[in-house]
């Protein structure tokens, strides 16, 4: 029955190929159908918004708690919003760890910026070779690179720990990597193992291959080298892919936890996630301060994401469709 009514421009129901039933009955069915559709819409929105509230509530609660006094944060039942916002909690939390959060933030910035930059440069040149150069074993090597995505992080962490301790001629080591501590407890040790990224190479290669060959032929006539072509033409043309790699790299580095924990021991070079863990160990029962510190660590990433989210989601989407 429902399939036989369609809406015309005036909004009144028109009967098409309806073998049974007078127009009146159809009008009633039509109204019921419209009501049902409307109800369906309402349920849809209620479900989606309820879901979004569940997803965001922990953040709301984190920020709300961060502005309460010690007494108020330990109240049961709790208050939804702080009765008198304590902005000074943030200053106190910032000074919380022995050397303050400033040092941790600086360390995270160093590791994230250097790590991302190195990954980008090595990823771009490798992706260029895979996408644009003819050489033996091109495909085979690319397969090997992709296969490294399958190696679990935990299977690499033990040997990586041993490896960075035995880098020759670093940290008091001799030529054979013995005697000292190598790159253990250094920025370089924290950064190096994560630089080569199969996912970044994969994304960039796809983007480079999509650029028509004519550009290369044209610039080749002028006698330009691969190097010029890559950095002057190809990279600017594939900016969305390049930015996606930067975003993923940066957020991944910023949020790293296990590797810095294993690869370092001095608080002076540890990144901000470890600083937050240390703070939670020392002052974990002072939840108003802990939540202030947590907000300080979480908010920059969220704001950064809000600014670039379209690019970020596009990057993920490309991954999802092509994989």
């Amino acid at each position: 029955m429902a399939l036989h009514t369609i809406e015309n421009t005036t909004g009144a129901p028109t009967i098409v190929r309806s073998p049974a039933g007078p127009p009146k009955k159809s009008a009633r069915t039509h109204a019921a159908q419209r009501w049902r559709r409307k109800a369906g819409r309402v349920i849809l929105y209620v479900a989606l918004i309820a879901g979004a509230v569940v997803m965001l509530f922990p953040f709301f609660w984190m920020i709300s708690s961060s502005l309460k006094t010690f007494q108020e944060v330990n109240l049961s039942p709790p208050t939804m919003l702080p009765s008198d916002p304590q902005w000074s909690n943030y200053a106190e939390a910032w000074e919380g760890p022995p050397s303050g959060f400033g040092r941790y933030f600086l360390n995270s910035l160093i590791v994230a910026v250097l790590g991302t930059a190195l990954q980008l440069v090595t990823g771009i040149t490798a992706a260029y070779a895979f996408a644009r150069m003819k050489f033996r074993f091109n495909n085979l090597l690319f397969m090997v690179v992709l296969a490294t995505m399958m190696i679990p992080f935990e299977a690499r962490i033990v040997p990586n720990y041993v490896l960075i301790r035995q880098i020759p001629l670093a940290g008091g080591n001799d030529l054979f990597g013995d005697g000292g501590s190598g790159l253990y407890d250094t920025y370089a040790g924290m950064i190096l193992p994560g630089v080569a990224g199969a996912f970044a190479i994969f994304l960039l290669r796809q983007a480079f291959m999509a650029v028509p060959r004519d550009y290369w032929d044209a610039i080749r006539m002028d006698g330009a080298s691969h190097w010029t072509f890559l950095w002057r033409v190809l990279v600017p043309m594939t900016m969305p892919a390049v930015l996606t790699v930067v975003l993923f790299g940066f957020i991944g580095r910023w949020n790293e936890l296990l590797w810095p924990l294993i690869a370092t021991q001095s608080e002076a070079i540890r990144p901000v996630q470890l600083g937050l863990m240390a703070f939670s160990g020392d002052e974990g029962s002072l939840y108003h301060l802990l939540m202030a510190a947590t907000t300080l660590v979480a908010i920059p990433g969220i704001i950064f994401f809000l600014f670039v989210q379209r690019r970020f989601v596009e990057g993920l989407t490309a991954f999802g469709v092509k994989g």
Partner: protein
């Protein structure tokens, strides 16, 4: 003169064929070899040693024999440390991966039905994913605080008993059965009792944390479906359940399969969430607590690597076990997918 130029040019071109790709690839290949590929071999080698900071003694397969010994039961009837960690990892993977994909599939379908504020809603689901596990995890630790956490206030408001959440090592199945008045049979095997309350909390966190990633990936797959296919199906009187299971699901099956593989690998490697939720926030008793009921295999590896002397070789043997498990599970998934996933 002319031929000399040709020869030189040919020489140059041959050099380009050989040396340029090598130059462009060198940094990546060296790093990948050193930190991703070689470690698998090194790990296999190390697993044959008693190894502290330096290799101490070659012991052959002793580490693997110890793994087997620690799978079997301890005197009290409880599984050994390795057995416990395998069981916990199993609960964790089976509990989080299907739940994440099913919930994400529902949400992605809802979001795909021409909703307003799509961008804002998608962002709401995605924010937990980009937040660091430490920050998001500590926010959860606070929500789940047994004394003054907001979740217990909510339980009281609904007239339910307050819970210990992350501090509760009791298995969930007997607990739920007890709540409705059914006793737990004495001789029943331990794994039937299910994960501990604490592990269920960690699993809930993990689903919350990774849901946005799955939603975005599935949404990307849904958008590529030709709307005419759905329209035709609707014309034929297909209801929404059939639409989801018979039309949409097969069409996005390649995306769902990719998601299944990626999430399973990630789930087997779960360390951060367990570490933060069970040792953060001032009252935790260390990663894997309470009573080893959240001890995933990666956390056990960490324990041997970080807390126990001369255990690096044993940690390497455990990571080989993890690698092997992942390899088997992924192969089984691909075998299964051959029959079920529809590519165009």
């Amino acid at each position: 003169m002319a031929s000399e130029i040709t020869v030189r040019r040919r020489k140059r071109r041959r050099m380009e064929r050989l040396w340029l790709p090598a130059l462009y690839l060198a940094p990546t290949l060296v790093l990948l070899w050193a930190f991703d590929i070689y470690p698998i071999f090194l790990s296999a080698w190390m697993s044959l040693w008693r190894w502290g900071i330096q290799p101490e003694e070659f012991i052959g397969l002793d580490n693997y024999i110890r793994i087997f010994e620690q799978i079997g039961s301890r005197p009290g009837g409880a599984p050994g440390e390795v057995g416990q960690s395998l069981m916990v990892t199993g609960f964790y993977v089976l509990g989080t991966v299907p739940a994440t994909i099913v919930i994400a599939f529902v949400i992605a379908n809802l979001l795909n039905s021409k909703v307003r504020f799509l961008g804002a809603l998608r962002t709401a689901y995605f924010v937990p994913y980009i937040t660091s596990t430490v920050a998001a995890g500590l926010a959860f630790v606070w929500l789940l605080n047994p004394q003054v956490g907001v979740l217990n206030s909510l339980m009281e408001w609904f007239g339910l008993p307050a819970q210990q959440w992350l501090l509760d090592p009791e298995p969930i199945v007997p607990k739920l059965m007890g709540a409705v008045g059914i006793g737990w049979p004495d001789g029943a095997p331990g794994f039937l009792a299910g994960p501990s309350v604490a592990l269920v909390c960690v699993m809930a966190f993990s689903v919350w944390n990774t849901l946005g990633f799955a939603v975005v990936i599935i949404l990307a797959g849904l958008i590529t479906i030709d709307p005419q296919v759905k329209e035709a199906a609707r014309m034929d009187g297909v209801n929404s359940w059939q639409m989801a299971t018979r039309i949409t699901m097969p069409l996005v099956s390649p995306t769902l399969f990719l998601l299944l593989v990626v999430s399973t690998i990630r789930s087997f490697q779960s360390f951060n969430e367990v570490y933060v939720l069970t040792s953060g926030g001032g009252y935790g008793a260390g990663a894997g607590s309470p009573l080893d009921s959240t001890l995933t295999l990666p956390v056990l590896i960490f324990r041997h690597l970080y807390e126990r002397p001369s255990s690096v070789g044993f940690a390497a043997a455990l990571s080989m076990l993890l690698f092997l498990l992942l390899l088997i599970v992924t192969l089984v998934q691909f075998r299964f997918a051959e029959r079920r996933v529809h590519y165009d």
